[in-house]
């Protein structure tokens, strides 16, 4: 039994009986909830075949697939630009020069707490009259990159700081310069630590791509609204879309967990330092980027 060992002792005979009763009761309760929800769907005619059929009509799956393709395009392009920019920002923030430290810190603090939607409105509404009229795809990608680079910079930095201090000191002690220590001692280790967090960050990027809706970019969310305008099957369409996003994100999270396990297996100081301890400060370092 995988119950929480901090809170509960191994249950005795009476405890076991109580757990069994609670198990049966909770199964019944959950079944009742599902039944009530389905009944609600049925009573309002939302289980009718006509409401669900559009997804089987020729052309609709391809239409949604095309939306998904655009979603993945936004996500991929954002990742390609945000990851290196984030890394550079982190290096600037960790550098010895006060000017670059301040520049990077200001950038990070500004874009980490600016709502992405506001930034998309800037590129979609405020900049075109000033002569900067990007193609719609880039009106979505550029704001996502600006925001996420700040979050990624903090992840990179957390990775560097998660290393024992002695690593950097040893590098300096053998006569390497600041950048040489970074390149040969710190970064190779830090990147291994943060790879799972970087994959997790793809989940954020994928979620952010839905805001392409606000700039009328035909990604999955926008395609879905177009579909509902025609078939008036709102809850069905939005449920299907939500499930598509959740499944993709679950796969990404699974990949992150597998990578985490693999990379931590190779680490020398295994045993009493579970990776969760290393990942934890990074998750908190995500700050505003965590819930989006």
């Amino acid at each position: 039994m995988t119950t929480n060992r901090v809170l509960f002792d191994e249950p005795g005979p009476r405890g076991l009986l109580r757990i069994r009763v609670a198990t049966v009761a909770s199964v019944l309760l959950l079944a009742l909830l599902v039944y009530l929800a389905l009944q609600r769907f049925g009573d309002n005619g939302q289980l009718a075949a006509a409401k669900w059929n559009p997804f089987l009509k020729p052309g609709i799956p391809t239409f949604l697939l095309h939306g998904l393709e655009n979603t993945l395009k936004v996500t991929g392009l954002s990742a390609v630009f945000a990851f290196p920019i984030g890394a550079v920002l982190a290096l600037l923030r960790l550098s010895e020069s006060r000017v670059s430290r301040w520049t990077a810190t200001t950038y990070i603090e500004f874009f980490r707490s600016t709502p992405l939607l506001l930034l998309i409105y800037v590129f979609f509404l405020a900049l075109p009259p000033l002569g900067l009229n990007l193609p719609t795809l880039w009106m979505v990608v550029v704001p996502i990159v600006l925001c996420n680079a700040a979050v990624l910079a903090e992840i990179f930095r957390a990775g560097v700081r998660a290393l024992p201090k002695g690593q950097g000191e040893a590098g300096l002690a053998v006569g390497l310069g600041h950048w040489q220590t970074m390149r040969f001692v710190i970064l190779p280790q830090a990147i291994r630590i943060i790879i799972p967090s970087l994959v997790t960050q793809l989940v954020s990027l994928l979620k952010d791509s839905t805001l392409g809706f606000a700039a009328s970019y035909p990604e999955l969310m926008k395609s879905a609204t177009n579909l509902t305008a025609r078939y008036h099957n709102f809850i069905q369409t939005y449920l299907v879309i939500a499930l598509i996003f959740v499944v993709i994100n679950l796969l990404l999270s699974y990949l992150a967990r597998v990578l985490d396990r693999r990379l931590s297996r190779g680490r020398r100081d295994k045993g009493d330092t579970p990776t969760e301890l290393v990942v934890l400060p990074m998750e908190t370092a995500l700050g505003g980027g965590l819930v989006r």
Binding site: A126, I235, Y238
Partner: protein, 214 residues
């Protein structure tokens, strides 16, 4: 800046809406998150499974997609709320998953020896929870929960996309009607940043204030 100055009271009331949205959503998220966290650490297997499904679903759904479900989907089931309330419900469900994980991690960071020691000196379940485990768990939850709060605050901007008139929507309106341009958006961004920095600062202060000196 003239546009912002000229519509100062509008911006202020939009800011209030944003704060209201964020506070109500976060309170809801705290309740939902705590309940789901209790489910996830309970010794009852079906409750644990239900909690896991909840967290995995709401942590992986894009907030916009969830808001669309609540705002445009639920009326199909004859369940209707005002736009504002729909946004609060969506955000509370969404942030609830993150609160749950913060609470659960907080409890799990209490060293197991603490619980064993509490039981060894004869404390009952409630007593050991109240005097040994929770005081330590709460302290380690502060920072993650502040992060969830900031995320909720920034996330309320998505309510603008489903028609709630809050700070981001105000910026959009000032641009469309008065061509406020970059200064308006910059001013609004600074409001969000100020709120986030203040929250972060307050969280850090609280964490230091209640820290146990060993």
């Amino acid at each position: 800046m003239n546009v912002v100055a000229g519509h100062f009271s509008d911006v202020l009331s939009a800011l209030l809406t944003t704060v209201e949205l964020a506070v109500l959503s976060f309170l809801g998220a705290m309740i939902v998150g705590t309940v789901v966290a209790i489910m996830r650490i309970s010794p009852v297997a079906p409750l644990r499974a239900a909690g896991l499904v909840y967290v995995e679903f709401f942590r992986n759904i894009p907030l916009l997609s969830l808001l669309f479900l609540v705002v445009f989907g639920l009326p199909d089931l004859n369940v209707t709320f005002s736009l504002f309330n729909s946004a609060v419900i969506g955000m509370a469900l969404f942030s609830g998953a993150f609160v749950c994980e913060s609470v659960r991690t907080g409890i799990n960071t209490v060293p197991i020896g603490q619980a064993e020691a509490a039981r060894a000196i004869g404390l009952t379940f409630t007593l050991s929870l109240r005097t040994v485990i929770l005081p330590q768990a709460f302290r380690s939850m502060i920072q993650p929960l502040v992060n969830v709060w900031i995320g909720t605050l920034i996330g309320t901007s998505l309510a603008a996309a489903v028609g709630v008139f809050e700070l981001t929507a105000e910026g959009q309106l000032l641009q469309l009607n008065y061509a406020g341009g970059l200064p308006v958006f910059a001013a609004i961004a600074l409001l969000y940043i100020a709120m986030a920095l203040l929250s972060g600062g307050a969280g850090g202060w609280l964490e230091r204030k209640v820290a146990i000196r060993r």
